[in-house]
């Protein structure tokens, strides 16, 4: 019989090493892979730590993504949760609504459509590296490269003016940070929502060659489009930005890995895949709530109970990845769940992969002497945010 512990573990737990999930998560996986944990709100939910179990939940329609469900596990205090003023976006939808809504937009993110963006992304990356080389040393890579590149790319794809980046970057950072007071968090969401609503209104009279205009022509449903724009704008820049920073830090502290990709660029996609697995930055995105009694890995999860798939720990499952704590840039394992699994798997994953590949190849080629100004142990990590990353990354050359 599988062991089930009582809810002794409280989430979230701060990492002690920037390169590894908290040791307590690993302990759960080894001793009680499906066990009850306590959230900051006091709610008790199931934590899943095995790759197989997390994949099973994420692809099982008996588990709901509805974030408005009071039992849905969020790492927020009760005062921070509030019925949003707008429609649930794709990440909160269940069947039968989710499938058609996703299909209405997924054609914008096909592998071929993303590949067509490659020259423009290369140009954006080159311009930012030109500016770094022309600027002072040290430079903060987060502000100089990690954040602006994916922000510009998603702005151009959606048709959001990049000139407004300060406005949406500050608000999305507040939204993703667990320590943001409730009123500030709500204000950030409302302001972003109003901004996007006004933007979409302008597109009715001033259409552009962009995703939001095309979706507007397809659907008469303005509210749904505002929710979609909100999701894509936030998910489209924060996540990739954090992976650029963490990936650069990691490669600079793992010279053999860096040498491998410098020697042969065709290795970079595999290195990107490994960095995605290694960090699994959107660790808490893989949460669900059961809508029926379901048995997972021999444990009965009852209707109404919340489940958190600890993706980072599941991506270090030794039953699935050999020597999972080693960074092996030639591993080539693509069945990790850094982008989730099931029908909600990240819509922008192929864009993110390409952005990371272009950034790493270009950065290390054009600034061969790039080095960290401070070692990883002295850097400030986003331990208080729902998407892991770096607040700053001072580099010199």
């Amino acid at each position: 019989m599988p062991t089930v512990t009582t809810a002794a573990t409280e989430l979230p737990i701060t990492r002690s090493c920037p390169y590894a999930p908290p040791a307590e998560h690993r302990k759960l996986r080894e001793e009680a892979p499906i066990s009850k944990v306590t959230l900051p709100s006091g709610a008790e939910v199931w934590a899943l730590t095995r790759h197989e179990d997390v994949r099973a939940v994420l692809n099982d329609p008996r588990f709901s993504s509805d974030r408005a469900n009071p039992n849905f596990p969020l790492l927020l205090l009760n005062g921070q949760r509030r019925a949003l003023r707008f429609r649930p976006s794709l990440i909160s939808m269940d069947p039968p609504e989710h499938g058609p809504a996703r299909r209405a937009v997924v054609g914008e993110f096909t592998v071929k459509r993303m590949a067509a963006l490659r020259p423009r992304i290369q140009e954006i990356v080159d311009q930012h590296i030109d500016a770094i080389l022309a600027g002072p040393r040290p430079a903060d890579l987060v502000q100089a490269l990690s954040l602006p590149v994916p922000s510009l790319v998603i702005c151009e794809l959606l048709g959001v003016p990049y000139a407004d980046h300060d406005f949406f970057q500050t608000r999305s950072a507040k939204l993703l940070n667990r320590t943001t007071p409730a009123d500030e968090r709500i204000a950030a969401v409302d302001e972003l929502r109003d901004y996007l609503d006004a933007l979409i209104t302008r597109k009715e009279t001033e259409p552009g060659d962009d995703l939001l205009t095309r979706q507007l022509e397809k659907t008469g449903d303005r509210e749904e489009l505002v929710s979609l724009a909100f999701l894509l704008l936030i998910a489209g820049h924060e996540t990739t930005a954090n992976m650029i920073s963490l990936g650069t830090m990691t490669l600079l502290e793992h010279p053999e890995a860096l040498a491998a990709i410098r020697e042969d660029r065709s290795r970079t996609p595999k290195a990107v895949e490994e960095l995605l697995r290694y960090f699994t930055i959107a660790e808490f995105a893989t949460s669900r709530v059961a809508t029926e009694d379901v048995e997972i890995g021999g444990v009965l999860i009852r209707k109404g109970e919340g489940v958190i798939g600890l993706g980072n720990t599941a991506n270090r499952d030794p039953d699935v990845f050999a020597n999972p704590d080693d960074l092996d840039v030639e591993r080539g394992a693509r069945h990790h769940i850094a982008f989730g699994f099931g029908p909600h798997q990240c819509l922008g994953q192929n864009l993110a992969r390409m952005e990371l590949e272009i950034v790493f190849n270009t950065l290390f080629e054009r600034i061969p002497g790039l080095r960290l100004e401070k070692p990883s142990g002295e850097l400030s990590f986003k331990d208080d945010a729902n998407v892991y990353g770096l607040y700053e990354l001072p580099v010199t050359w």
Partner: protein, 63 residues
């Protein structure tokens, strides 16, 4: 070995195309899978595509 794709289950993540673009493509309209080569020569890659498909819309069947 023959590839069977369930287009109703497919969520258009494009993982199969990333695995083997000679065998898989996506509809430009809704991103769902198009199998270009039903009986792939590279069975290992086809197995990987089955494994990485997030909605498990792909399967390999023996004829």
């Amino acid at each position: 070995m023959r590839i069977v794709a369930d287009k109703d289950v497919c969520v258009g993540a494009g993982q199969c195309v990333m695995t083997d673009p000679d065998v898989f493509d996506q509809s430009e309209d809704d991103g769902t899978v198009i199998v270009l080569v039903e009986k792939p020569l590279d069975v290992e890659k086809a197995r990987e595509a089955v494994n990485v498909c997030p909605s498990q819309a792909l399967s390999l069947v023996e004829d």
